[in-house]
Point group: C3
Chain length 259, copies 3
Amino acid sequence: MSRTIVEPPRLHAALRQSSPLVQCLTNAVVSNFTANVLLAVGAAPAMVDIPGEAGTFAGVAGAVLINLGTPREEQRVAMREAVSAASSAGTPWVLDPVAIGLLSVRTALAEELLALRPTVIRGNASEIRALAGAGAGGRGVDAVDDVESAGGAAAALARRSGGIVAVSGAVDLVTDGSSTVRVPGGDELLTRVTGGGCALGAVIGAFVATGRARGVDDLEAVAAAHAVYSAAAERSAAAASGPGTFAARFLDELAVTGR
Amino acid sequence: MSRTIVEPPRLHAALRQSSPLVQCLTNAVVSNFTANVLLAVGAAPAMVDIPGEAGTFAGVAGAVLINLGTPREEQRVAMREAVSAASSAGTPWVLDPVAIGLLSVRTALAEELLALRPTVIRGNASEIRALAGAGAGGRGVDAVDDVESAGGAAAALARRSGGIVAVSGAVDLVTDGSSTVRVPGGDELLTRVTGGGCALGAVIGAFVATGRARGVDDLEAVAAAHAVYSAAAERSAAAASGPGTFAARFLDELAVTGR
Amino acid sequence: MSRTIVEPPRLHAALRQSSPLVQCLTNAVVSNFTANVLLAVGAAPAMVDIPGEAGTFAGVAGAVLINLGTPREEQRVAMREAVSAASSAGTPWVLDPVAIGLLSVRTALAEELLALRPTVIRGNASEIRALAGAGAGGRGVDAVDDVESAGGAAAALARRSGGIVAVSGAVDLVTDGSSTVRVPGGDELLTRVTGGGCALGAVIGAFVATGRARGVDDLEAVAAAHAVYSAAAERSAAAASGPGTFAARFLDELAVTGR
C-alpha cells in the first residue's frame, strides 16, 4: 500500500509552537550542527549524554535521538540509560545506526538497541540493509546500496521492530512495514555537509513528538520531517555557491518554514 | 547602586592587542563555535581539557572557562585540576552552570565549584536562580525565568562567591552584589544559534584578563564583554537572513570591533 | 636541493574521482570542520576513533590522521590501535602534534608515535621544533617561531622519521630531509578560523593516498595539498567580510577546484 503525506508545513507550524525538547545522544562530529538544525526548525535541543543524567532527562524529553557515529564507552552507558527511561516513559526515540557493518562496537550496540524496539530507525540504504541482516554495511558513513534496493529490508525491519524505518537517498523511503511513503526532493549538497543525515534523525524526533500530541501517526510525522527537510535543502541549494554557504542557508531556510 | 559601563570598544581594542590566552573546558556541542568567537574577538583559544594537562595550562592561561554543558567524567577531573591551578595562580575563571537543577551530576559539580569562588558566574536566569538555591532550573538549556526575577538571586550569589554574576536575557544584568550594570541590546537570533551564551562565557574571560592588566575592575570588564557581544549581534542580525547566515556574520562583526 | 611542485589541480582532480576514505582521530574542537573540508575537497571522511573500531577501520582507510589537540584517554588507546593497523597495512598516516611542548600527555604521546614513523608530520614551526627536540613549543596552539627558523629541525625530523615534514606559516615548507618545497600564498584569515591547520592534516592524508595510487611521490602530494588549500584560502578571503563568511566560502572554494 502506498500513501501520500499530509501537510508537512502544518505539522511544522505546530512543532514551532510547541517547541519539543529533543534529547540527542549523538556523535561528536555533528552535535553542533544538529543542535543548530533543531533550533532552526523550532525545537529545543538538549545534548544530555552522560551516565547519571541521560536517563533523568529522557523522562522529561519529548523525543530522544540515539546516533551511533562516535559511540565512546561513557556515551554507550548513557545511551542504554536513555533508551530504558524513554521506553518506560513512552517517549519516542530514534535510532541512527551510523556506519554499522564493518565496525564491531557500534554494530553490537545497534543490535542490542534494536531489540528494545526504537520508535524510528533512520539511516542510509547500506545501514538499513546491514541492520536488517541483508547487507554488509557501507563504505564508512557512505551508502553503497540505493534506496529502493533497501525497501524490502526496511519493511522487514519495521515489522520486526514494530516501528517506522526511514531510508535516506535521492528519494527517501519511509515505511511502517505495510504502508510506504516516498519523499522526493532534497539536494545533493546535503550529502556534502557532514551531519546532513544525522541532524535529520533529530528533526524526525521533533516531528514525532509533535505529531503524537496532535493525533498524527508516526509514519506521517516521519515523512513530514523528511519533506520539510528536503524542501529546505532545495531552497538553500538555489541560493548557495557551494557546501559552506549551503550549510548556512539551510539553517536559514529551516527557520522560515512552519511560520 | 546602579552604574554605567566605561568604553567597551576601548577595552576590546586592548584585548585585541594583548590577545589573552583563554583556556576552555567547555561542552562538546559548542567548542568549535567558542574557539571561533575567541579568535574573532582577538583572543587566543586553547581547549585544553584533559587530566594531566588542564592544571598545567591553567597556570599560564590568562583566564579559564568552566562550562558544564556536557561534563564527561574525564573532563570533570580536568575541571577540578584547572580550577585548583587557576586559584593558586590567581588566574580569573568563569563558571557557566549550564542546565543545572534537574540534572544531578552537573548540579553537584556546580555546587562544588561554587565553593571555590569563581571570579565570574554567568548563566541564564533559571541557572542563576538554581545555583543560588532560589529555583529549580530551566527547561533543558532554556531559561523559564526572566532576568529581572533573578536579580536578587544574582546579587546574593555574588556576595556568597565574592565574584561577579552575569545573567543573560533580553537585557543582561551584571552584578558584584552591591553594584549592578544592565546591558541592553543584542538580538533574539543569538538564542537561535547553539552556544550563543556559552561562547560569551569565554569572551568574559578574555575581557577580565585584559581588564586586570589595565586596572579595570572585573564588574566593568564583564559588562564590557556583554556590551561588545550584544553590539556585534545587533549588527549581524541586520545583515542576516536567518540563524545560519547570522552565525557567520556574527563572527565577522566580532572581528571588526576593537580595531 | 629545491624543487617545484607538479600540477596540484591535476592531483586534486584525481582525488575527487577516487574519493579516498580518510580516517580522522582528531580533536573535538575541529572534527566538524575537518569532515566538511574533506567532503569539500572530494574525499570521504570517517571519524572512527574508539578502541575496538579504530584499528579495523585503519585497515580499509586510504589514509589516517592522528591529531593530538584533545587527546582523551579513550582516544589515545584508539590512536595506538589505528597507527599499528595502518603500519601493518601500509596505509599512510599523518601526525599533527598540536601544542606539544608544555603539555605532558600529548608530548609523550607524540614522541611515542614518532618512533612508529609517521608518513607525514605536519604542524606549525613551534610544534615541529619541539618534536625535533629543538624548541620548547608554542603559546597554546599558536607558533612563536617562524617557518624558516624551523627548516633545519624539519629536515632533521624528516630524516629521523623517514617521512615528510610540513611546516605551516606565511610560506609553508615541506621537506623529506633532502629536498624542500616552499608553498607561498594562503591568507591570514585561515589562522582566524579554528582548525585551519588541523583540517589541512586531513587533506594531506587524502592527497598522499591519491598520489600513491598514481605514482606521485609523497613529497609532491603533500606540497600539492598545501597549494590547493592555500589557493582556496586566497579566493575565499577575496569574497569574505570576516572569519565567519570566510569559513563558509572556503568550503565553497575547496569544492570547485579539482573539477
